[in-house]
């Protein structure tokens, strides 16, 4: 299992489009992916879950990956969030 703390950087936060990009990226990997925010845990491969987190700019997320490609999944998701989803 791999765990990682990240901060939401993009201005819009995890609203619809970034949430969709996140889920699509997570779906490329076999590993299970969970996100914990302020004690609420959701499945990171579920769009409705990610949308529900309502993670705004500055929100801290705890990411947890487990599975054969957990390392790669963690790197891909982390860099996506840290790059601010390519938003300006």
């Amino acid at each position: 299992m791999v765990e990682k703390e990240v901060t939401i950087k993009n201005r819009a936060g995890l609203h619809t489009r970034p949430a969709a990009t996140l889920v699509k990226t997570a779906a490329k990997f076999k590993s299970d992916f969970h996100i914990d925010k302020d004690g609420i845990e959701i499945n990171g491969k579920s769009i409705i879950g990610v949308m529900t987190l309502a993670a705004e700019q500055g929100a801290k997320l705890h990411l947890r990956f487990s599975g054969e490609d957990e390392q790669q999944a963690c790197e891909a998701i982390t860099s996506l969030i840290e790059s601010g989803f390519g938003e300006a």
Partner: protein, 588 residues
């Protein structure tokens, strides 16, 4: 004005919020968006797979419906706004959500509708606990989607009972409803709930369908009614209008229609007189969402954004970050044009977050006085505005100024806020234009001294006239004495413009007078540089400016200034308008 009584066939006027401009007159259709009833039912273990299959079919059907709505939405309202439905489609493809639902049907042995309602309801509840408006609206979208799936599971076809053209009245119109209805001939929308930011309000505006929302009792008052009027400019729903009211609104409708037609040609043209004097024509806005509409109207910029609107419905001041996000959104949307943000003007008739009592609030603690007394709050706001100014298209304006020292103190706070940002390496416009509202007699008298401190003056006529003439226009005993063409008002306006110009600053006007077509020639003639008006009158004012000569306007102003009564000035201006602009109707 007729009273609000619940008698059959009697005219009833409901006041809400104007969500999309325009006037609609016609038959009423009460749209009851049937929320499917979900009954918890136990099923036997050999029924589960059939139940799941029914659900899968229902999801597929829902997806097809939404794709249709999406395609329609994109073609009709543009790709970007169609995204609302894309989120719903994405949820339908959420494998984890649906495998959880399938799992629960198998293990709990309950009917699909019940599990769908319960499982999706969980997320919905979490969204509802947020105090973020965006999340609350997402919760609404999720509710819409949930009901669509359930409806399809129950193999109920969604169909609209609407026939012919009508005004749709509902409790709460969803975005999907708005788009679907727009296929029919919808004259207008009215709803009990919904603020101006709701998706249906935005869509109505994009679709150019008049709408009034937040009417609270609309659905109960239209029960049994046949006809109604929606005034989307002012947020009225008039149920069972009298013949006289209908006629009045037909005239307004006609007048607006004519101007709409002119609008297409005027939109990209500058507000410039026939002899080449350029006027800066801007708008006053209340809400960020108005900006797209304002751009369509061909506005040069935002002449006044009332930041106190951020306080509506709040019991505390919004945080610096919250303010910054709002201000930046406005600045970005209007870019490259300019947005002038006025610092909180609370007090007077505008309520403070914490309730307080004053015997004479108009002469009390309000505007810049409150800001200067609450330096922390003030500095937060200044920092938020400065941060939003990094693209150099933001101006800042102080309300209710009565002395030079107030401006100097406010500027000191601004300089300190700038210092904060410099230390934090946050970019902002070092030369952000600063202006003051001239809305008190003292500010008018001190126009030149104030102008020496700032980059612009903006005359706020509503308050200036009340203070100058000592008339409370909401007091029916004296409201007739509130006269915008009172010689004292004209002389004060002229004085402010002239003395502002002496210090080489521009002078604008953001009160109602700026948006009165009858006053346009006079104000141009007095040398006013900028008009900031409500969006709906902008095309009209632009048309008048473009049809006059500055030279002639100056003559009109000179003549008006020599008159001794408001009535004389008014009849003279009507005469001028009739002669020069016979096509412009002057009724309001």
């Amino acid at each position: 004005m007729p009273t609000d009584r619940d008698t059959k066939n009697e005219e009833v006027v409901l006041k809400g919020v104007g969500a999309a401009p325009g006037i609609a007159i016609g038959p009423v259709f009460l749209y009851d968006r049937e929320v499917p009833k979900v009954i918890e039912r136990s099923i036997s273990s050999d029924e589960t797979e059939r139940e799941i299959e029914r659900l899968i079919n229902a999801v597929e059907r829902s997806s097809k419906e939404l794709q249709k709505i999406l395609a329609f939405a994109q073609q009709k309202i543009g790709e970007r706004r169609g995204k609302i439905f894309e989120a719903q489609l994405l949820i339908l493809e959420d494998i984890h959500l649906f495998s959880a639902i399938h799992q629960r049907i198998r293990s709990e042995l309950k009917n699909a509708e019940f599990i769908v309602a319960d499982e999706i309801g969980k997320y919905q509840k979490m969204m509802m606990t947020s105090d973020d408006e965006y999340m609350l609206e997402r919760a609404q979208d999720v509710d819409d989607l949930k009901n669509r799936i359930i409806r399809n599971v129950q193999e109920e076809k969604l169909y609209s009972k609407l026939e012919g053209s009508a005004i749709i009245v509902s409790k709460n119109l969803t975005a999907a409803d708005t788009v679907l209805f727009s296929r029919n001939e919808v004259l207008g929308y009215a709803s009990d709930l919904g603020g101006i930011t709701s998706h249906s309000a935005l869509l109505s505006r994009a679709l150019k369908i008049p709408a009034a929302v937040g009417l609270r009792e609309a659905t109960s008052k239209v029960q049994g009614a046949t006809e109604a009027i929606i005034d989307g400019y002012n947020g009225f729903l008039i149920v069972n209008p009298s013949t006289a009211t209908i006629e009045e609104y037909r005239r307004k409708q006609q007048r607006h229609r004519e101007f709409e037609e002119n609008l297409a040609g005027l939109k990209d043209l500058p507000a410039e007189t026939l002899d080449g004097k350029k006027i800066d024509l801007s708008v006053n806005i209340e809400f960020e969402e108005e900006i797209e509409f304002v751009i369509l109207q061909g506005s040069a910029g935002v002449g006044l954004y009332r930041t106190e609107n951020l306080l509506i419905g709040k019991d505390a001041f919004p945080s610096e970050e919250e303010q910054f996000q709002k201000y930046r959104a406005i600045a970005d949307k209007i870019y490259p044009n300019r947005a002038i943000l006025r610092t909180f003007d609370i007090g007077g008739d505008k309520v403070l977050p914490q309730a307080y009592q004053e015997t004479n609030p108009f002469l009390g603690w309000r505007g810049i006085r409150i800001s200067l007394d609450q330096p922390e709050m003030f500095r937060q706001q200044l920092r938020a505005i400065l941060k939003a100014s990094s693209r150099k298209n933001v101006g800042i304006m102080f309300p209710m100024v009565t002395s030079v020292s107030e401006v100097q103190r406010a500027r000191t706070h601004l300089e300190m806020a700038k210092g904060d940002l410099r230390r934090e390496n946050i970019p902002f416009d070092e030369r952000i234009p600063v202006g003051v509202m001239v809305e008190t007699p003292s500010a008018a008298v001190l126009a030149e001294e104030l102008a020496a401190e700032v980059s612009f003056l903006s005359i706020g006529t509503n308050d200036l006239i009340q203070y100058l003439l000592a008339v409370d226009r909401t007091n029916s005993f004296v409201s007739e004495l509130y006269q915008q063409f009172h010689p004292a008002v004209l002389k004060a306006v002229q004085f402010v413009i002239e003395h502002g110009h002496r210090r080489k600053v521009w002078v604008g006007m953001c009160g109602e007078m700026a948006g009165d077509p009858l006053a346009t020639v006079l104000l141009v003639g007095l040398g006013l540089d900028e008009f900031s008006v409500i969006p709906s009158v902008l095309p009209e004012i632009k048309k008048i400016i473009r049809s006059m000569k500055y030279r002639e306007a100056k003559r009109v102003a000179k003549k008006a200034l020599a008159m001794n009564s408001a009535d004389d000035v008014k009849s003279y201006l009507i005469e001028v308008m009739k002669e020069k602009f016979p096509e412009i109707s002057l009724e309001n």
